[in-house]
Symmetry: C3
Subunit: 277 residues, 3 copies
């Protein structure tokens, strides 16, 4: 098993139903290792004709996936390119949306920025009612979201709520995320595993061709174009070079981002006073 | 009165407000007779310049409309063509969406597959809170939806919930259908008739030209293209020929579909174990 | 200060956060004076590089903005043209949606017709749970909405609920508006000011470039085209000439519209029996 495969671990419940466990201590920060793991998973999914459903979850109940690595010391996911020719981040998300396999995000803990964009690229999202902190804090960090949130959220939750999520740059709990349509449902934490397992096994019992046919038809009317996604990614790369963004990123890293668990859990709430304190 | 007109019965409450009653024992199965009845209704609607609103309901509180006839013994609704040149199923639904008359589905009981697609082609949907079983079980029967669900649901409820409805292939109760936006509202069963009647009479009191102008403007930004609808219908016809679909259809018919009321009410819940039992 | 600037009053809380107060007694009727005030505001917004967020509210808790002036005696907002070359009404709304400044509607009281279309052109909408009467009553007055509702609502709340709002032509309270997605959230009246102030100050603390970049990206996938908006506006101008519309407008003015506060508050509820009483 490669190192990245250890961070993005596959549990084959049945040939038709896999669980994928994010296990990248301490906070499941999203860096090149996570994308390498996801690319490995996609290659295995493409080679598994019996597979119907994949559930994505975290072994750490506090962090589903944290956020984009802001230290930039592991690999370079903004320049790497995937098999489709798109940047690796987009390649991963676009292939997930177009896969004939059904992807389900089972959410507990913190899911921010590129991690929120990962769950938005999954076919369905189910979240813990008590334990979900989901959001797109990028604008409060001085950049725009670059991995699809600005394209996928307006179609999912409507323009008004999408603008609130992205421009307000704060966390959403399970109930609000459900009310906004950001997740399919928020379930009591004690019921989340059971609900998702029953749904995944049910889908796994269906035939592959009707699943693929139905998903493909829905993709025609519900996915943003690659052009739009590329625009957002390019804007994000530009924004990372802005001095005001670098100032905010440094303030966050100095405050404890990617080092202290308590800060990692609550930092979006602090963005409104980031440069004052 | 023709036979099909008895199954799709028109009650002219006023010249501006009609109720249409589905009355096709025992389960209001959707076959050629229902489409013949709906085509007769559309012809009468086109010839009624005073008409403003039509409410669609069932005389059977357990079955609004059940589902597509899987025995295939009455007519052939997959090859028949309507006045628009589109297949009869699409012709019926498309003409309903483009009619200057406002269509309102008042839902009680089971509404699955093509029946769900019928209510999705209506302008508005109001459902009994206690007595609604609404869904698109096609994928669990081995085929994709062919009558517009894959095109209309993503625009109505967002990609995530649309994928859950279609790929999960299960029933939705009134409350969940409301929360997802699958219906406009779920109302307590005792209030449903009153609410819809007040709304329909209110709309019936308005002038025909502003109704037609406003609906036409909204149609420009809210209807799927005929190309997309035809793709889904063609895929459905192909899927019906797949051996895995035929195996599932035969298992359902053997289990009691279209024969036993109790099985008719609950069969989508059984789809996850259909070939195991 | 010009007269119109007194009706659309700017309070500069900080250089980054302005509040705009509608104060046009007795009912905040939307006529040429309001559009003149909004055009003045837009010019000031364009000249304020430090500005991030604008909150729109009313000094009159019973009337946010009432509705389009149906007496037609102050100016002519259907023929006036704005800096973009679009009709003044569309110019105002389109520039608001495309501004790099974030616009937030804080809603209390009556908001109907063109006023609902104003809040739909704002980036976000927050409403008083106890004190909101929001709707598009135009069809009950004999005309279609002309200021974007038929284009913006289907994208925001889905086709079914958009058709109910526009063709039902009635008021929506805060809770229903939230459930439909017509507003972002309905908040208890006592919490509304605090919630919106915290959000606006938070956004005002962010940098201008990422706000503009993110909003611009979301605009690409969430705004109706100018062609569609112009179609609706032209249809509205035509509808105003229909005798049936003029008959309804005269009945409303005779009943007390634009003269009596009590009638102004409740008139959409009476539209279903307007010509009978």
């Amino acid at each position: 098993m490669t190192e990245s495969a250890a961070y993005v671990r596959i549990v084959e419940e049945t040939p038709a139903y896999w669980r994928v466990l994010f296990d990248y201590p301490p906070f499941n920060i999203v860096d090149a290792a996570i994308f390498e793991g996801l690319q490995g998973l996609l290659a295995r999914m493409d080679a598994a004709p019996s597979l119907r459903a994949v559930v994505f979850e975290s072994v750490n109940p506090e962090f589903y996936l944290a956020h984009f690595d802001l230290t930039g010391h592991i690999g370079n996911i903004t320049t790497a390119v995937g098999p489709t020719g798109l940047p690796i981040l987009m390649d991963t998300f676009v292939r997930l949306t177009k896969s004939p396999v059904v992807s389900i995000a089972k959410i507990r803990g913190c899911v921010r920025g590129v991690s929120s964009e990962f769950v938005l690229a999954c076919d369905m999202r189910f979240a813990s009612r008590e334990n979900t902190r989901l959001g797109q804090p990028e604008v409060g960090v001085g950049v725009n979201p670059g991995g699809g949130a600005t394209e996928r959220l307006p179609l999912l939750v409507g323009r008004g709520r999408a603008l609130e999520i992205v421009l307000g740059a704060n966390d959403f709990d399970g109930d609000t995320a459900e009310r906004y349509g950001y997740v399919n449902r928020a379930l009591p934490d004690a019921e989340l595993d059971g609900f998702v397992d029953v749904l995944a096994r049910r889908i796994a019992s269906f035939d592959r061709r009707p699943i693929a046919a139905a998903k493909n038809l829905m993709n025609q009317v519900s996915l943003p174009s690659a052009d739009r996604l590329l625009d957002a990614f390019s804007a994000f790369q530009t924004a990372l070079t802005w001095p005001e963004a670098q100032q905010r990123i440094q303030a966050l890293l100095k405050g404890g981002l990617q080092r202290e668990g308590d800060f990692e859990k609550r930092w979006p709430a602090l963005l409104g006073t980031l440069l004052k304190t």
